[in-house]
C-alpha cells in the first residue's frame, strides 16, 4: 500500500456546483488560483478559505463539481493547497478537469468520514482505498491511462514530456 495523500477531511454536502466552489463574479476579476483561493467555497462557508490548511482533503457527497466545465473550479482548489477530493461521485467535466490538472479525484462512500478527521488516500493492489478512523473504504480505481496523467502532474506536463498520448495495450474483450 502506498500513500497518495494524507490530510484533514473538510466535509461538504451533495451537489456542490462549480459556482459554489468559486463564484462567477470572482472569476471576472482574475483567474489566478492564488488570488481566487481566498474565495474558495465562500457561499458554502465564508470562513472556509481562511481555515484551509495545506494538504486538506475535500470530502463531499454525490455529484461534486456539477454545473459549468470551467477549469478554474479545479485550479482554485489546487491553489488552496488541496491535492485530493474524495466524493461519492463527480460531475464528469469536473472529474476530467481534476485529472488533467492532477487534482486526485477519489470516488468512494463518504458517509463514514467525519469533518476534521485525519484521512489517507492510498493505492493498494486492488485499487484505491481511503483510510479514515481505522477503517479502509474501498474506492474506484483510476484507469491506467488517466493514472499516468495524474502521476505526470496533469495533462500539461504529461504532454509536454511525451508530446502525445501514450496508448496502452488494450485487452480485447
Amino acid at each position: 500500500m502506498s500513500t497518495l495523500s494524507t490530510g484533514r477531511a473538510r466535509k461538504l454536502g451533495d451537489d456542490i456546483d462549480t459556482d459554489t466552489i468559486i463564484q462567477s463574479q470572482r472569476k471576472r476579476e482574475t483567474l489566478d488560483p492564488l488570488v481566487l483561493r481566498n474565495f474558495l467555497l465562500e457561499s458554502w462557508d465564508p470562513n472556509f478559505a481562511a481555515t484551509v490548511r495545506d494538504g486538506d482533503i475535500l470530502v463531499a457527497g454525490k455529484n461534486f463539481g456539477c454545473g459549468s466545465a470551467m477549469e478554474v473550479a479545479v485550479t482554485v482548489v489546487l491553489g488552496a493547497g488541496i491535492r485530493a477530493v474524495v466524493a461519492k461521485s463527480f460531475a464528469r467535466t469536473y472529474f476530467r478537469n481534476a485529472i488533467n490538472n492532477s487534482l486526485l479525484p477519489v470516488i468512494c462512500d463518504t458517509d463514514a468520514i467525519s469533518d476534521g478527521a485525519d484521512i489517507e488516500v492510498a493505492a493498494s493492489t486492488n485499487g484505491l482505498v481511503v483510510i479514515a478512523g481505522g477503517n479502509e473504504i474501498p474506492a474506484s480505481p483510476l484507469p491506467d491511462a488517466v493514472r499516468a496523467i495524474v502521476d505526470a502532474g496533469g495533462l500539461v506536463p504529461y504532454l509536454k514530456h511525451h508530446g502525445d498520448f501514450q496508448t496502452l495495450p488494450h485487452p480485447a474483450t
Partner: protein, 421 residues
C-alpha cells in the same frame, strides 16, 4: 446477457482503434474539436505551456466567437482578439461574431456527421448526437491536448436507452419531452452515461426536435445524447458535407444500464422552475406566474422551427402583453436569414421584440440583454441556475418556445394549447 454494443461503444472503439467496451478508458482521435471565445483563451495558454508550437491538424479545429458576440467589455473584446490572432497564426477556421453559436455551426457546416467523434470545449457539444455523431464536452486543457495531438482520453460510457413512444400533441414539443425526462432522471441521473434515444417516436421527430433532445441530455449529466441516422439525417446533411459517412446503430442485443419508456402522446407542456433544470413540473403548476422578460434563443431553442412555433402562438394569442420584454436571438446567421426570408423576423419586430445578434445572446449573461433584481424570465434555454442570465437576484423558468410565446402574450405563464387547436 447480450454481447452486442451500443452506439457509444461502437463509435469510441472505432475512434480508439480498440475493441474497448463501456467502462474502459481509451485514447481517441477526434474528427473535429470546437473552442469558443469563453474556453479558447485558457486552452491557448495550456497549449503554449505544453510546449505547443504548431497545432497538429488545423483542419480538425474550429473556433466560434459566440459567448461574447458582440463583446460588451474591453476584457471580452480582448478574449476575441486572443482567439483571432491564434487562429490566424495557426491557420484555424474562426466563426466570427454574428455567425452564430458554435454548436449550431458544427451542425450547419456538416462537421457533425454519423459515426464521427466531435468534441467541444463547451458542455452542449452533446447536441451533435442528434446527427448520430458522438459529441461531448471537454475542458480547456483537453482542447489544448487536442490541438497538440488531435486526441482526447475518454471513458466509454454505459448507455441508458430511452424509448420514445407515440406522437407529440399540438402545443407540446421536444423541449417538453426533454424536460420531462430530466425531471424523471434528475440532474445527475445519467452522469458518466450516454443516452440513446430510439424507437418509432424518434423517427417521427424532426431534425430540430432531435437537436433539442440531444442538447438537453447534458442537463441530466449525460456524456452524449445519441440518435440513429435515417433519411432525415441525410436530408439535413445534404449540401452541408461532401464527406462520406457510415451510420452507426446499436446491436439488437446491446447491453444497456437502464431502459426508460417515455410516452410522448400523453405529455403536457412542462416547466423547469427556478433555479434547477430538474425542478420540472407540468405547466399547470406555473399558471399565472408573472413574467417580465421572455427569451427565445440559445443552442436549445434558437432554431427556425422554434421561432415559427413561437410566432404562431404569439399571433394566435393577440400579440405581446404590455410590459413584457420580448428578446429573441437566432442561433445562427443561417437561422437569421431563413427568418428574414419567410417574414418571421418582421412578425417578431411587429410584436415589439428586441432582435439580438446571432450567438449565445442572453443565455449565460456574457452578452446581450440582462435583467434587474427581482425580475422573472421565461426562456427557451437549457439552464436556469441562479445567476445564469447575469443576475443572481432574478428567477428563470424554462419552457418550450410555444409556452414562452404564450407567456409573452399573457404576461403570465399560460398554456399554449389554449390557442392551438
Amino acid at each position: 446477457m447480450g454481447q452486442g454494443r451500443t452506439i457509444a461503444e461502437k463509435i469510441l472503439a472505432a475512434k480508439s482503434g480498440t475493441e474497448a467496451r463501456a467502462g474502459d478508458t481509451v485514447i481517441c482521435t477526434v474528427d473535429a474539436a470546437l473552442g469558443t471565445d469563453a474556453s479558447g483563451p485558457m486552452a491557448i495558454d495550456y497549449f503554449r505551456q505544453m510546449g505547443g508550437d504548431a497545432v497538429k491538424d488545423p483542419a480538425r479545429l474550429v473556433f466560434a466567437l459566440d459567448h461574447y458576440a458582440p463583446p460588451p467589455t474591453q476584457k471580452a473584446a480582448g478574449h476575441l482578439k486572443t482567439v483571432r490572432e491564434f487562429c490566424a497564426a495557426q491557420n484555424i477556421a474562426v466563426h466570427e461574431i454574428g455567425e452564430g453559436i458554435g454548436h449550431q455551426l458544427i451542425l450547419e457546416t456538416g462537421r457533425a456527421r454519423p459515426g464521427a467523434l466531435v468534441v467541444g470545449a463547451d458542455s452542449h457539444a452533446v447536441t451533435y448526437g442528434a446527427l448520430n455523431c458522438f459529441g461531448t464536452g471537454i475542458g480547456s486543457s483537453d482542447l489544448a491536448g487536442a490541438m497538440l495531438t488531435s486526441k482526447v482520453w475518454l471513458r466509454i460510457p454505459e448507455t441508458i436507452r430511452v424509448n420514445l413512444e407515440g406522437c407529440l400533441s399540438p402545443g407540446v414539443s421536444a423541449k417538453d419531452a426533454a424536460l420531462a425526462l430530466i425531471g424523471e432522471l434528475g440532474a445527475d441521473g445519467a452522469a458518466y452515461k450516454a443516452l440513446e434515444f430510439s424507437d418509432v417516436g424518434a423517427a417521427e421527430l424532426s431534425m430540430d426536435d432531435r437537436f433539442v433532445l440531444a442538447n438537453m441530455s447534458m442537463e441530466c449529466g449525460a456524456k452524449a445524447g445519441l440518435l440513429d441516422a435515417d433519411a432525415k439525417t441525410d436530408a439535413y446533411l445534404s449540401g452541408r458535407t461532401i464527406e462520406a459517412y457510415a451510420p452507426v446503430s446499436a446491436d439488437i442485443d446491446a447491453v444497456y444500464a437502464e431502459t426508460i419508456n417515455l410516452d410522448l402522446s400523453n405529455l403536457a407542456p412542462q416547466l423547469a422552475e427556478p433555479h434547477h433544470v430538474d425542478n420540472v413540473v407540468g405547466i399547470e403548476a406555473g399558471l399565472g406566474q408573472v413574467v417580465d422578460m421572455v427569451y427565445l434563443g440559445t443552442c436549445t431553442g434558437g432554431r427556425a422551427s422554434d421561432f415559427h412555433d413561437a410566432l404562431r402562438v404569439l399571433e394566435a394569442a393577440g400579440g405581446t402583453a404590455p410590459g413584457v420584454n420580448l428578446v429573441i436571438t437566432p442561433a445562427s446567421r443561417e437561422v437569421h436569414m431563413a427568418l428574414l426570408a419567410d417574414g418571421t423576423l418582421a412578425g417578431f419586430a411587429e410584436m415589439g421584440a428586441i432582435i439580438q445578434t446571432p450567438g449565445c445572446g442572453s443565455c449565460c449573461g456574457t452578452c446581450g440583454s440582462v435583467v434587474a433584481d427581482g425580475m422573472t424570465v421565461i426562456s427557451t434555454a437549457n439552464r436556469n441556475f441562479k445567476g445564469r442570465m447575469g443576475n443572481p437576484n432574478a428567477e428563470i423558468w424554462l419552457a418550450s418556445p410555444a409556452s414562452c410565446a404564450m407567456a409573452a402574450a399573457r404576461g403570465v405563464i399560460a398554456d399554449p394549447r389554449e390557442v392551438l387547436s
